[in-house]
């Protein structure tokens, strides 16, 4: 049986991201009631796991680190068809950078036990770092392929995948267990089904904190993070905008004339 672990992150809904600001005093995010959703690329990771499960005997464990409310996104993954959901939630985990997050996830993976494949989205929509997957692989001492956009060949131990590479791709042969971070091109994530939601009601989310993982407090959260935010400068606008008014036709005509005068069209 193929044991798959899918790492998902609860992120503020990217559609409402412009409502999020950073508190200048504490330098932390002020989320202002923006709802938490599954990070878009993590949905592709989840879909990849579901597709594999359709093809072969597989077990899907969803792993997420976040505030207690992130339980909802774990629940969503259970409704999509994951077999087991684990939420890592502890005040000690708060403020983790990518390194500490990857470390905590790696320790949790060891706690889950046997696994063959770890799937993550290539990047998170809120932080835009891409480090958690590859750093987790390093901590677990297993190979990593980032930006996987196609699974070409599934073998017993050795798999072949295509990974995005500049304007083309890189064909990679990799031995499992491994970490793949996936891109949107890999698949089209399915929508939640009503029956899935009903079935998920019976599935329990496992909640682990620092005690369950048995890791020292200095190695997780803000204490275990090598990087910190030192300063926040507010953005400065360097351009004086001219807002064009009039009817649609007038506005279009005016801007074309202006751009012609500027010599840019």
């Amino acid at each position: 049986m193929l044991n798959i672990i899918v790492c998902v992150k609860a992120v503020p809904d990217p559609k409402e991201a412009c409502n999020i600001q950073i508190d200048p005093a504490t330098k932390t995010l002020m989320r202002c009631d923006v709802p938490l959703v599954v990070n878009p690329l993590d949905k592709n990771a989840m879909e990849a796991a579901l597709k594999l499960k359709e093809k072969m005997d597989a077990k899907i464990t969803v792993l997420s680190m976040g505030p207690p409310e992130a339980g909802n996104i774990v629940k969503e993954c259970l409704a999509l068809g994951a077999d087991q959901g684990i939420l890592l939630s502890d005040p000690a985990f708060a403020g983790a950078d990518a390194y500490a997050t990857a470390y905590t996830l790696a320790k949790s993976v060891e706690h889950v036990g046997s696994f063959d494949l770890i799937l993550c989205g290539m990047a998170s929509s809120d932080g835009s770092t891409e480090w958690v997957g590859p750093e987790m692989g390093t901590f677990l001492n297993i190979p990593v392929v980032t930006m996987v956009k196609e699974i070409v060949e599934i073998g017993d131990e050795w798999w072949k995948v295509k990974a995005g590479f500049e304007t083309g791709f890189r064909l990679v042969r990799v031995k499992l267990p491994a970490v793949f971070t996936v891109t949107r091109e890999l698949n089209a994530p399915r929508a939640l089904s009503f029956s899935g939601i009903i079935k998920a009601r019976k599935k329990e989310i496992t909640r682990w904190g620092i005690d369950e993982l048995g890791v020292p407090e200095e190695s997780v959260g803000i204490k275990g993070s090598p990087t910190i935010v030192s300063k926040l400068d507010s953005k400065e606008s360097k351009r004086a905008v001219e807002v064009i008014s009039g009817t649609r036709e007038e506005k279009a005509e005016y801007i074309v004339r202006k751009l012609a005068d500027e010599g840019v069209i």
Partner: protein, 333 residues
């Protein structure tokens, strides 16, 4: 004797050609190293790397470590990581800079985690603070964050192509070229079999005179196609924001900004996007900037020269017609 460890650049080649971002990073590393009174060292892995080390020296490197072997011709994750990590342990660099390329984005975290240090993603500026700690600047919600790695070494950062400029080469500069030893037993859990590059369609973003970028405001694929039609009418390159990529309307290759491409067109037209700094930093050097957004309070209107408050799906088709009329007049004159 240097008191500070060197400033490192992990250089990159593709088909034996050095990438521009590697030279750009050498230029910035030189500035940091001068301030720290230390040296700039580049690490370059590839095959037939004969002239490339001198190019790095001409750009400002004092020492180039070269891994030269057929097995290193293409990026090999395990082998590259092992070589860089072992050399870093020996050389103890103070700072390590890597391009935000496909290779850099994978190699950097593999190296950082192996060295148990921090890594800042896709910086748009790198400066030293009063204690000579590296401040890596990144745009984030509503501001510019400075990320520091106060205790762990090296301090690591990735930087996209185009953030820094290529230094004027000084062919008279001299430096040391040191051959790296390649292990006899190659690591065997992962292999890059081949790297294929495809010709991308349309006008390339980096060199385009006009860039039309679309965002979430397109609404759906149909709306996106309207924005794409505007780009076609202007013979412009089509760019995007992350939400547009996440929606699946366009490829990651078109994304402009901190974790995408840096562009410097004569004209930028942002359509249906809100002016998120992550995107806007990618077009800092545009000459004329226009935004179309239906929300008069959108932050994008603080960052452009001309603003049009309108539903982009309604406005853009009218704009296309007016541009066509203008172009026809130009031809007949």
């Amino acid at each position: 004797m240097e008191t500070n460890g060197p400033v490192w650049v992990i250089a990159e080649q593709m088909d034996c050609r050095l990438l521009a971002v590697s030279l750009q990073l050498i230029g910035q590393a030189r500035k940091l190293a001068d301030r720290l009174e230390t040296s700039v060292e580049a690490v370059l892995m590839g095959d037939n790397m004969d002239l490339q080390p001198q190019q790095l020296i001409a750009a400002g490197a004092d020492r180039v470590y070269v891994g030269n072997a057929p097995d290193l011709a293409d990026y090999q994750p395990e082998l590259y990581t092992e070589l860089v990590v072992n050399l870093a342990k020996a050389r103890q660099p103070e700072i390590v800079l890597i391009g935000s390329t496909a290779m850099g984005r994978e190699l950097a975290p593999l190296v950082a985690a192996s060295l148990k240090t921090g890594l800042t993603a896709h910086c748009i500026d790198l400066v030293l603070d009063e204690n000579n700690i590296l401040e890596a600047r990144i745009p984030a919600y509503g501001g510019l964050l400075s990320i520091i790695c106060p205790e762990k070494r090296p301090q690591m950062a990735t930087v996209a192509a185009g953030v820094f400029s290529i230094p004027e080469p000084d062919e008279t500069r001299t430096g040391e070229v040191v051959r790296m030893e390649i292990p006899e037993h190659l690591p065997g859990r992962i292999q890059t079999l081949e790297i294929i590059q495809e010709e991308s369609e349309g006008v390339p973003l980096e060199s385009a005179n006009i860039v039309v970028a679309g965002g979430a405001g397109a609404g759906d694929l149909e709306g996106w196609n309207i924005i794409a039609a505007l780009a076609k009418t202007l013979n412009a390159a089509l760019g995007s924001t992350r939400p547009a990529v996440d929606e699946g309307w366009t490829d990651l290759e078109t994304m402009i900004g901190q974790s995408g491409k840096m562009v410097a067109p004569e004209l930028y037209i942002g359509v249906g996007l809100s002016g998120e700094l992550q995107h806007m930093v990618g077009i800092r050097n545009a000459k004329v900037m226009v935004a179309v957004n239906n929300d008069p309070k959108s932050p994008v209107f603080e960052q452009v020269d001309y603003g049009i408050v309108d539903d982009c799906r309604e406005f853009v088709p009218v704009l296309i017609e007016k541009i066509k009329e203008y172009k026809e007049k130009q031809v007949t004159c």
